[in-house]
Symmetry: C2
Subunit: 302 residues, 2 copies
């Protein structure tokens, strides 16, 4: 019988769910507002009903396994969400909780690491052994594939958004100089508004304004990309990926944002290997596809 | 029959060699001046004669396998020394070369990663899964044990000495702000001499002067330890080791140098896990013990 998995990418506001077969063909999709409770039970109930609904939509049996990914600090080894500001969770053992509720195998993961897994296996990072996926969104985080395996460190690995790249700005985490306080999509929008008094809905309008010649926008984007390059230089000096996959809405403006980063690195590296910089292929689907891959891995290992 | 390996830690000036059994009991040792040639053949000849001499010294058979570690950039996977300033080597396929010469299994590795392997298996890092060994000497480099395995990236991993910690000094590599340009033992000595006009043979006399209250020495040591803490913060934000083992002569003055680093980290971390900081246990023996472990691993895998 063909494999069948449900995959859910759970954000602070939206659950993106899909039913997929073993070839990652999408048989049905659902999108709902996230059901929130501090103990995770509301989300477990929602996952249960979404899984049933997906199977009904597609006219299939109930899926063999379910993959769920969430943001924050997720210890995949312990199947516990240590901390998620977006879900208001702290030490929620969601993997076990959901598995008891569904009575079938559950894979529980982290959104960015799952997105990286998808990019490495079926997206822009295919064929690599040592690679990084850097997701630039509200925050900045990295998924690391080292010696062909996702490196987790109990959910603490890859926090590139919080390395100090040497600017005086304060980060939401409480430290000064964090990469994401200057180069995340939200930091770009905020810094543009601070400089001009004009609102910006995310980074894209700022990048668009920069391309049209707006000097304030150009300064903000340029500072962000310099900081990002600085962060990538540190990453590659420590873990030397062959390929760095850059994800997030910013990188749809490919050449405009990728070229300065590449030039900064090419000028700044001395003995280090210049990694290939690629833009992500899977876009918003990466997290959900990663959740599906985690569910399939669980199924195949059981 | 008992296992028997020869282990050689090759530096730019000295070869430290030993004959060991499978329990890492040292049966004989030798120390010679390094025989140098750009193609590696002089060293291969030297290794062959040292191996024979060690067996004669101990009255044993010729060892079953030989482990050799060298400084620089060593691609253990390809068994090639990509670059070693100390040996004047570039792309020397020393692993294969020596194996043909000796007609027995050869393990070829990198001195710092081998030292880390020894600290993780039989030294200060025992019992860890995710750990880093940071060796502060002429330069600064790290060995990373991730998910229980040494991470190599074709010899490019762990170059923590060349991450930018935000100082204006120039590094030997050509870049500005590198950690090792301010915090290596040689940088500490050089910066002390620049500031005072007084010579210093390595970092130890500078640390001793600082402990006696010399203000110039205190400033140099304090700047070095701040920079080191900055570098460790970046390392732990990206790879989140449970334990960081600090090696090098500097850390024999344990509490005096370790406490400021620990305090800096404790004050500067926000959400990150504070790793346990430990001083290395194996000292100068780490590289040779690591070479022996690599040889034993090769023997047991064959």
């Amino acid at each position: 019988m063909a494999e069948l998995v449900a995959a859910l990418d759970v954000g602070g506001t939206t659950v993106k769910a899909a039913l997929l077969d073993g070839d990652l063909t999408v048989l049905a999709t659902r999108r709902e507002r996230t059901a929130r409770s501090a103990d995770g039970t509301a989300l477990a109930e929602q996952v249960a009903s979404v899984v049933t609904a997906l199977a009904a939509d597609a006219g299939t049996a109930v899926p063999d396994a379910v993959g769920v990914v969430v943001p924050g600090i997720v210890d995949e080894q312990a199947r516990v969400a240590r901390f998620s500001a977006n879900l208001d969770w702290r030490d929620v053992p969601f993997g076990d909780l959901l598995e008891r509720r569904l009575e079938r195998p559950v894979a529980f993961g982290h959104d960015v690491r799952a997105g990286g897994l998808a990019e490495f296996r079926v997206g822009a990072g295919q064929g690599t052994r040592d690679a990084a996926f850097v997701a630039v969104g509200t925050g900045i985080a990295a998924a690391l594939q080292l010696d062909g395996r996702i490196y987790r460190a109990h959910g603490l690995a890859g926090e590139i958004g919080h390395i100090d790249v040497g600017h005086p700005g304060r980060c939401g985490c409480g430290a000064t100089g964090c990469l994401e306080a200057i180069a995340s999509a939200s930091a770009i929008a905020r810094r543009f508004t601070e400089r001009t008094g004009r609102p910006a809905d995310g980074a894209q309008p700022v990048v668009d304004a920069a391309r049209r010649g707006d000097e304030a926008a150009q300064a903000v984007v340029s500072e962000a990309l310099d900081a990002l390059a600085h962060g990538l230089r540190t990453l590659l000096t420590l873990v030397a990926p062959e390929v760095i996959v850059l994800g997030g809405g910013l990188f749809t403006a490919t050449e405009y944002v990728l070229d300065p980063v590449r030039d900064w690195l090419a000028a700044g590296l001395t003995f280090q290997r210049m990694p290939e910089l690629r833009t992500a292929k899977l876009g918003d689907e990466a997290g959900r596809l990663g959740a599906a891959l985690l569910a399939l891995d669980t199924l195949r290992a059981s």
